[in-house]
Amino acid sequence: MWSDYLHLMKMEMTLIVILFILLFLKLGKKEWDAGKLLHFINILLVINLIFGFFYNTEGSLFGNMFRTNHLLALEKNILNLGTLIVSLQSFHWLKDHKHIPEFYMLLLSTLLGMFFMISSNNLLMFYLGLELSTIPLAALANFDLEKKISSEAAMKFILSSAFSSGLLLFGISMIYGTTGTLNYHELSQQLTGSPLQILSFVMFAAGFGFKFSAIPFHLWTADVYEGSPVAVASYLSVISKGAILFVFVSVLYQVFENMTTVWYNLLFLLSVFTMTIGNLFALRQQNMKRFLAFSSIAQVGFILIGITGQSSEGSAAVIYFILIYVFSNLGAFGVVSLVSAATGRETVNDYKGFYKNNKTLTWVLAISLFSLAGIPPTAGFFGKFFLLLAGAGTTHTTGGHANYILITIAVLNLIISLYYYLRIIRAMFMDNNNNPIEKVKATLSPNISFVICIVGIIVTGFASGAYDFIYSLVK
């Protein structure tokens, strides 16, 4: 019996063990050298990542509240990988910070929450996981302790998420009221698509939309991304979004399978809004950090298109895209945060002539941006390609023909996004600048993260095996 718990909750258990190690480190009397401590924690995270790939099984626990299988393990592994990259990249920033163990305890708690959320088989369990992954994030947003703007970000984040959680819970309780159950499998049979259920579904989806910042539920994003430390902003825009999207796909496909028309229409509207307005937002950003954060809103719009596919292709395309997105967005964020930490310069104009002094970093940023823009042969192209393919292939909702309207809007948005990504690439390579950013030195940890990102971008693109593997798990 106990071995069951250890085995099925292996990934969660690993995180808890790491959390306890960190706790003891903090409580101990010894003063740790910041650099060594960070390396030690990164090694723990590497072990966590590697261990995540082995001994995965299928099964459920706690009276069917918690379940796991190979696909869910893969999703958790993607998040583990992303967390490791974020951690490697925040080395410079954390080195001078007094509260390293706390940072990681909060960070890993949110990761733990995401794991529970992904493994949930019951709306209650899902809600617990969601809250565990949200509340520590507010504390993390406040982690630039001396900066007022950081506190403001945390305050806005906690208030907005409290509001959205309230509406989410309202939705859940109405679902419970009309069906009398919270279990996913039973819900899928009980839901009929009555008006009350539709209303509660919209509230439920809005709670998700808040987390992955779909428009119009995105407004907190701007202030929080701007105020919080870069590491936290990148974690929010990549890991946190990835996790909630994983859950969103599985909840939609499993629980609300009787209400496909409803959520198809909802997703249609959300994705059109999110892509278009997200792009318009990103278009006029001059600050690189904000620019990346807003462009990630537009990326979510594309992911929603893949979800409308209602097929295992759609599900696989979403997971594949998020994997690529982890590499690409973190690659770009890593360079920007490194430069900002070293020189304090972060506007697009500052990046003019960046190639002159920083050849390697320019290439890392350029390849990441190419991938985000979806230019072949980077992985981002294949990711977007499969998303659009999945979105176009919805035949049973649109009455036998592919959904050209959505795809056309998506392609138009792709062109707009191409403009703003390429604008930065042009600035880096071609524009002249009398005062270009001087040579930025990266230490081992960020360099490792760049290698992971670039290799990931290239390999996941060229090796069709990655997509096929995910597809085989989804099926």
Partner: protein, 642 residues
Amino acid sequence: MNYADYIAWIPLLPLAGFVLLGLFGKRFFKQYSGIIGVFILLVSAALAFYTAYIYFFINGYEDGVYQKLIPIKYVWLQFYSGTSIDMGILLDPISVMMMVIVTFVSLMVHIFSLGYMKGEERFSTYYAFLSLFTFSMLGLVVASNIFQIYFFWELVGISSYLLIGFYYDRPSAVSAAKKAFIVTRFADLGFLIGIIILAFEGGTLDFNTLIHRLTDLQSPEYIAITTASFLGISVMTWALTLVFMGGAGKSAMFPLHIWLPDAMEGPTPVSALIHAATMVVAGVFLVARLFPVFSINGASLLIVTWVGSVSALFAAIIACTQTDIKRVLAYSTVSQIGYMIFALGVARYGGEAGAGYTASMFHLFTHAFFKSLLFLGAGAVIHIVHSNEMKDMGGLRKLIPVTHITFLIACLAIAGVPPFAGFFSKEEVLLAAYNSNKAVYGIALFTSGLTAFYMFRLYFSIFWRKEQEHETHGHKLSLSMKLPLIILAAGTLLVGFIPFGKFVSSDGRTLESPFHFEFSIAPVLFALAGISLATWIYKKESGRSQKLAAALGGFYRAAYKKFYMDEVYMFVTKKIIFNLVGKPAAWIDKYIVDGTMNGIAFSTAKVSGWIKGIQSGKVQNYALYFFVGIIVLSIVILYLWK
């Protein structure tokens, strides 16, 4: 050993060489880049020869037919079941033959360049590019999938571009590189459309399946592609013609030949490898690869035949008037490829009717030897004289005896004098043409006389004519430059005796091609006449060549100016396309497209400003919008859009 154990290394080793030399060569081991390149190619060539031995003599021949084997296949991008882009290796007689040619000639060029490119600033880069080219060309010839061929087709185009423009500080080299790239790219547009049509109608990109479906007269794919028509011509003919357009561009067939003479701006060993022996025959190879499909479509074969024969004659005439030795060789390449192309055009599938196919491949094979020998010999001459112009040469036969003898052998071979290699292959080409199309035979026979004339004009101008003492500029031909010349000359002497029909034929069965003594009299006489004429005019300094030129008058000037083909292109592009298409397009672009875009940008800025208003920074407003969002969405989904 199975093929799968080692065969992938044949193309992958040069790729590894490219990565190694390209990334680290310049910084860490510049002097040794050449040696490393040669060594890698040596291993690759050895494997290719081994494969050829195993394939032709041990296990390729079964049930009286050479099998098509696919030892390695990696599904790269699957579109839907049955249609995927694969990366594979297809072994059949022509791909094995091409593998041998490519690795062998490349090895010779690698060795030759050790001396020729010595002391070059970008020595490592040069070898890296050579390796890249070799990899791409090998990937092209072993392709098992039509899209794979296209992929590597573009890669060889890029390597060719990089190598033509190798001396990028010379404006002429840069513009030649651009010209080559643009012209072939334009032709590749046709190729791509052809591929898409074939793949759409055939439902697959795999060569074997595609050929099987499109040659089976009962199959639904065949019926669909032949019954559908566009502008009164069947879709099958369109597709094959478009594919051939790509081939003609790469193989510099008339009227897409204009890039090849300019491509001689690249280093001479590169011309020997890419623009004589390997890349330019890719078009021939492509038609041969799809030959079963071409052979059941008479219209496209007719186009192939006439494009080939016109190019053969046309280029030979121009070659008689050029004074830059590399350009003479370039035009002679166009002319000889014309032979290969029309030999395919006059062939049919299977048996005796397939003799043209065998002849074409045979000529491709022998041509690779003597043409790369000619180019390397020209390279050696240029190395000594420091000029490409005939007027700066003459009387070199004592100064560089090895080059002289090997060059003479190659000239005799290309002129078709027995017993050199070119004689046998040209004989078979002419025989195939004779049996199928007398007009083409006439053109080919006349062209072979011209070939002998211009080759010996070249030979005498370089090595005889005047007894002028040359300064050697302190240069001597090193062993690394002589060795490839000698090996290739030996090859030129020997390869003609290979019973080629035994190995390569249109249907994989053995084709007996007995030697017809009486038939070979006419071509040899034409060749000897050409040689004699050249001897009479050019062996000694005399006014005869000027008199001849004056007698031919306008025709000579037209040929000297390459029949004004470049000017025609310039007229069409600059005057017609730019004025009639470009200017209106520019107007539309400026006023309508830009106007719309400016309008969009203006309204985008407006909307952005409006959104900024929403983004007020006040959390209570955020909550309000959040709630309004839920209500609006609920109303839409509940009442408006069910």
